[in-house]
Symmetry: D2
Subunit: 223 residues, 4 copies
């Protein structure tokens, strides 16, 4: 859409990348059109945290790549799922639910409240912050109860939504963050970018032991 | 206040009792003014689930009675804490936090959304329900992350609130339910009463083993 | 195997069915060999709680049937997954993880400890109970952190295992229960049968509102 | 006891301090005998994370100091509670439960299994680690269900125990870690020290917003 192209001339992915790139974070992008969607074995192996934004093309994502990403998350790669990414194959696969929700494009005000002020993902954020115009999402959001609920959103039109949710899967950590409709300048918002950076730091791999599964003849064999 | 007396001529406790009494539930009341606040050892021993509503007189509740109620909850008695009961000594003691929140008396609309539709406490309730006028409560609500979040409230004035929360403590189960300001006819609302009854059924004691603690010389001694 | 046939002459499914059948529960069975594995749309629609035991034939279960069962769970049907059912397609799909674990067939003693004595699934069970000989399962068990951990198992050989785990998915509730290797008389054990019955009662559907998803033009349209 | 004095000639507190002190961590100690137990307002205000070990003298800790520590935790200070500290006034106050458990002094082997391999507190630790001789702790451990269960312990004598547990309270994070009986050289064990350091890093304060509570006349007043 012309509207989106004007807001995000280089694409949403490049806007996010530019907004979070720093001395601390090396950020590159991958898109649907690239071979293997840019998510080759080699590249994923080098990735600490993967951000996922998608909308109308979820069905075009190759199932084999989705399984590859899932395997990497279980191995320890962090995953940040943004906005309409809630319907991506990878998020639904990792949640085990439909991940459906209610929505409305009415440019309503969204106010995100911090409901877990001990969580590092809320660092540097006020008790709440606002986005003047956003797409509305409403409950029930069909996800498993989050491990930690960090943000919940109030919308002027009457809905609320669990908008900052963490999940553990295997050795990997996942953060779902709601805002980011393509027709609003959400990814230029300082608070939104701060939360994404916090999420990346929180989800970064930790050096826990490699996991082994299967037959253990005796405890001693585990070493 | 005259306003409250007109709404609840026999007191809030009697209004709730009348609203939930049925062939299924035997309901009696106890008040601050009674000896031991009506919560003698004998009476608590016979109580399956205790509902707690309090507001301005929390500090008048005897610490010894609070400890007695806590002990009974750990032993298996259910506890339903209503509205301003969030600042009661017993709730704060069982939570370990300040249980503070933000509030405003502005008669705003409250819309309670079901965010865990698998939970028995939400049985018979729509995807959401409304209270035309209520006191507003806002986050951060200083409680431990609930075991299960069943309801979250949207308020017309801009706040949201985790308004239906469950907690496990020892052999006991606790349900906090937000609505119920004394100047509104909340406890005559059919949905509110239904949720309270659901909460009572959910929190009723289950026949799990009595707990033992302390020195166990050898596993065999546990019997 | 002759050993299994001797222990469970009518099959494990019939042994479990016989062990839990009562005036309270109507129990029927379905097996892999039946058309649609006995899990037709009609039959699932009439099922309140489905028990799943499987072992070597997980890969023979039709993906379409797995998706049908998942949809029914999200709609509200309870699901009890037993022992080696941890590697079933349906459990892995609902968890979003590999569901792998460590195991050993050594007939070791298993002692199951109640770690949530407020939970109805532990009703009628002592502080722990024992199975003289069972297959050993060991951590890490690759599941999402359970909503509630009811039992944890100690094994004589040195392992422990989160052996009674609950999960919420959509309107449905899931209980994973570890014991039940085919070479041991586990499904004749009174405590095991009691826990399974408790699990069924806990996971039974509750009459919460049907969920709607998608575009909501305005709050008023939700009715 | 002579035995303890020989193992920990400068006291357990100094052994732990020496074991975790590094360029990264500035570590000082405070003891029961100091004025205000060494926990003055000034000192607590400068403390990022407080470690608590106590055993027979819990009742000698001043209630006013306990309330001061609780307030600091809610404000954001991290708290690591070690071993018999489970019965400390501060831990019980923050949990809201009795915090009782079963125990046996038999010098049994303890094997600590990682049950959440995505958690930073398990960094650098194998899939499990062992302590050749430790005091045995057994379930039921009367705490609220932990926010995250990181370690669970297997004991040779037949017990298991949730031995690495996290909790959020206000802006503060709490980690309970089981090992550390005074008659064993546990606090010289490399893995134990590593977990304590990981716990400290995990519980360190994050710069979230200061919390406000009470009457909010209108959203705009929140600023």
């Amino acid at each position: 859409m012309a509207e989106v192209a004007e807001l995000y001339p280089a694409g949403i992915h490049e806007a996010i990348a530019a907004g979070i790139r720093s001395d601390e974070l090396t950020v590159t992008t991958a898109t649907l059109d690239e071979p293997e969607h840019g998510l080759t074995e080699e590249r994923l192996a080098q990735t600490d945290v993967l951000l996922w934004w998608g909308h109308k093309a979820h069905h075009l994502v190759d199932d084999a790549i989705v399984e590859r990403v899932q395997a990497r998350v279980l191995e320890g790669m962090g995953l940040i799922v943004l906005h309409s990414g809630h319907m991506s194959k990878i998020f639904r696969k990792l949640m085990g639910t439909s991940c459906k929700l209610k929505w409305r494009e009415a440019g309503e005000k969204e106010r995100l409240w911090v409901v877990n002020p001990a969580h590092p993902i809320a660092a540097g954020i006020g008790q709440y912050f606002e986005l003047e115009h956003e797409e509305t999402y409403g409950e029930f959001f069909d996800i498993p109860e989050p491990e930690e609920l960090v943000f919940a959103s109030w919308f002027a039109g009457g809905e609320l939504f669990r908008s900052g949710c963490t999940f553990y899967r295997g050795r990997g950590r996942i953060f779902y963050f709601r805002p980011g409709h393509e027709t609003f300048p959400t990814y230029y918002n300082e608070n939104v970018l701060k939360v994404i950076v916090n999420g990346i730091k929180w989800a970064a791999p930790v050096q826990t032991a490699e996991l082994t599964f299967g037959n253990v003849k005796a405890m001693e064999d585990l070493g």
